[in-house]
Symmetry: C2
Subunit: 495 residues, 2 copies
């Protein structure tokens, strides 16, 4: 057996374990009965340890080294070996015991987070979060970094990105965004979205959001949508991609949550079938992944053209909204208003939410802030950046699932996604012309087709930086984003 | 590390893999999108192979032998080692390649069965069934047997039972059951169940069946109910037990399907927590398991006393049934009528369905019947035993999920369960007195408590034969069953 075949067989076994663990996590968030948490934690920690041991085994190191000497680095298999090498290098740096402990803690911590959020009880969640942050620090030290401890955790999600990059990005964004928000608040023609909050039928919301997801191209024969506390996208095959949404009094939660997750889902579903169940399938980085969820949620889903097509469907699903004409609806779903909840934030203030998290994460990793002080610091920063103070921790520091799962270094990729969504969109426009007309006609195949050809079909073959260069002809920047955002919102607010 | 600790650690890893595979199978039947079959087959076959390799490893053999020499056979740990030895002996006889192939085939074959049943197309399913039967024959030969090849597959589900036992059981049942059916058909006061078929709201059915399951003691904080093509019960922890039901025009499908699966589920949920995730947890054999599902479905769920308590709830959930008084309803749900579908058969004709399957399975294993001839043979036997011929294969040979999953040797345990359900019930009556009064009062705790103490809390500690002796003071027999059934139905039909 060649080294490459040996390696692929081993990767297939590891993939099966990760798929199983992925399904267990999905089930935990969608269906698991409350009493099953301890058993789930045991199973997931054992599976994580096994997968980690199998992946970091000496035989994998040998097969990988041997295979790399035999394969053309420019070939598809060369790309496979490159990403496996990257994953392997990261995995071998982290001790198996830490992997196992983190996995167990994730389950317990998730349950604790759900309860704490429900009961507005940060203190009950704090001990688990403290341990999770300690584990994250240990991971970061084990992974290593040149300049800042944050670089180590960020690189896991966005290959090659550093805390300095993130700071530079926010420095570029801060002034124009703050100015735009100010102008809107001081001189903008008022928008009204009160009508979007009501006692909406869950089944209707589920049917309507699935109609939207299906229309833009999420394939329900190879995926499904369920309900969870926090919208997310996961999967274990290009032919089995799961998205979730939630049904709240604000109808935009389900609509834009679904479009967002469907964006992630379509990226996963459109990896080449030949790469299914291998490390080459799926999104190349979280920033690029998020560019797709944000593109479908915001550039498509919050456009006037999109609703030219779907407003009649909205009206028939929710007769209470029938009095909203296109312009009123379009302005309502694009209302800019500093608010408490990131996932429901408008496009303009969204990055301010990320800045809060990024700064807190840096401080936590540096050790300059303690977990017990988080509610206070969180509230201070919300006051500073958004001009509002959360009335409780449930809508403050407890709002996001990420930290309970040890996902530190993840948030900045949301802002990168915002930038890239506009950058990709502009590149698409150059190729395809009038994208608004496609949307107004309900023709999403050209848009999806372009994204599929340029991005989705590449899986993890290229580094995120190379992919952005290849698709847009330039590195990631804030230009397209700021230009697009400013034009859109100056229009909406008549500035 | 002691041999016992080493063994337990290994068993915990194998348990995690089986739990993952169990959840993947559950998901496949409840939620999996149709396009995901191939990926699921790949994952399940890899996981099955891994678990089989891990369990049959030399280190397990060594640890098991060593541990057995160190542990008191009469202790709990002695019981653990006994069941592990039994599982190990069976597992080591089956080649890993066969395990992997069977696991892959199960997924593909399940999808093919669902489609074939839907389209009444046995021919499309036949090639997979042929291969599955070939695998089953190979397994049986590998497992070994003394008298009949069927003994090998039956012993997997019912330790120590043989084809000769099953034949003897059916020989005892045949004459009195056929006589009872004849008397009912010829001289019985007619029953009417047409009102039970209608366009029932699915949500109401789901709520009502969950009310029943909860009332008898199925713990929804440690389990849940979903919808599937075929009702089943599965689980991967005493605190995570999943049952399914289905919603058909005949309202009894969901009601008695749920009670049946809840019976299995309560058995699983009430294994001792200290044995959770170990081979000692769960049901000791399929016959004993089935005695519990049938006890709750038939002896409890089809009793007059039970509906004395729940008829008002039924009426308020389904106003169309409000005109049915207790007696009419009781007689309707106990209507005896030779019918096509086993899972919806009445108590009296039920075993006739099993006899058909048992005889066909024996013939298939002996090689005296070919898969392609199954529809014809099936229909002949239904004519012979039940006096009716299925109008199509969907309601004939394609009705059961079992063969698609290679579950051959499984059906006779349903009849054993019927016998044992009455045998256990009579033993309980001796201890607790008037069980009807408990049921009429909606007091199921004494009943569940007795079953828990005598049966559920024993897990797999004793052999099925020993457990039956221990609980009822005699070996499994047809006496209690025939007596109970005859008394009940002669009463209902005024004979």
């Amino acid at each position: 057996m060649s080294a490459l075949v040996d390696l692929k067989n081993r990767l297939a076994e590891i993939n099966a374990i990760y798929a199983a663990a992925g399904m267990m996590s999905w089930d935990q968030q969608c269906y698991m009965p409350p009493g099953a948490g301890a058993a789930r934690a045991t199973h997931l920690s054992i599976l994580s340890r096994m997968a980690h041991e199998m992946f970091t085994a000496d035989e994998v190191a040998k097969a990988l080294t041997q295979a790399r000497s035999e394969v053309d680095p420019q070939s598809e298999e060369g790309a496979l070996l490159r990403v496996v090498q990257r994953d392997f290098d990261m995995a071998t740096k982290i001790p198996t015991a830490l992997v196992e402990e983190k996995s167990r803690l994730e389950v317990e911590s998730h349950e604790a987070w759900v309860a704490a959020r429900k009961n507005n009880d940060f203190a009950s969640f704090a001990p688990m979060l403290e341990r999770m942050m300690e584990i994250t620090r240990q991971e970061a030290e084990a992974l290593g970094y040149r300049d800042h401890i944050y670089d180590a955790v960020l690189d896991r999600y966005e290959e090659g990105a550093t805390a300095a990059d993130v700071r530079a990005m926010f420095d570029t964004l801060r002034t124009p965004l703050v100015k735009l928000v100010q102008d809107i608040q001081e001189r903008g023609k008022p928008t009204h979205d009160a009508a979007l909050t009501g006692d909406w039928d869950q089944k209707k919301q589920s049917e309507f959001t699935e109609l939207l997801a299906k229309s833009i191209g999420f394939d329900f024969t190879r995926g499904r949508q369920d309900t969870a506390h926090h919208p997310f996208c996961t999967g274990w095959s290009v032919n089995d991609v799961r998205i979730t949404t939630r049904y709240l009094p604000y109808i935009g939660s389900a609509i834009f949550g679904t479009l967002h997750e469907a964006g992630h889902g379509m990226y996963e579903q459109n990896s080449p079938e030949k790469w299914d169940l291998t490390p080459l399938a799926g999104g190349v980085s979280l920033g690029i992944h998020e560019s797709q969820s944000r593109l479908w949620e915001n550039i498509v889903g919050r456009s006037r053209a999109f609703w030219r097509r779907f407003l009649p469907d909205l009206h028939s699903a929710f007769p209470a909204l029938a009095s909203m004409d296109l312009e009123t609806w379009y302005r309502a779903i694009n209302q800019v208003k500093p608010s408490l909840i990131r996932v429901e934030a408008d496009e303009v203030t969204y990055n301010l939410h990320i800045m809060v998290r990024f700064e807190i994460e840096c401080a936590l990793l540096e050790g300059s802030v303690a977990v017990r002080d988080l509610p206070e610091i969180w509230n201070q920063k919300y006051q500073e950046y958004l001009g509002i103070t959360p009335p409780n921790d449930s809508d403050g520091v407890l709002q996001d699932v990420h930290w309970s799962a040890g996902l530190v270094g993840y948030f900045p990729t949301y802002s990168m996604g915002n930038l890239l969504s506009y950058q990709f969109w502009n590149a698409m426009k150059k190729d395809l012309g009038d994208l608004d007309q496609f949307m107004a006609d309900g023709q999403f195949t050209p848009i999806l087709g372009w994204l599929k050809e340029k991005i989705y079909s590449q899986g993890r073959r290229y580094t995120p930086r190379d992919l952005v260069m290849q698709v847009t002809g330039k590195p990631m920047g804030a230009e397209d984003y700021l230009e697009g955002l400013t034009a859109k919102y100056r229009g909406i607010y008549d500035l």
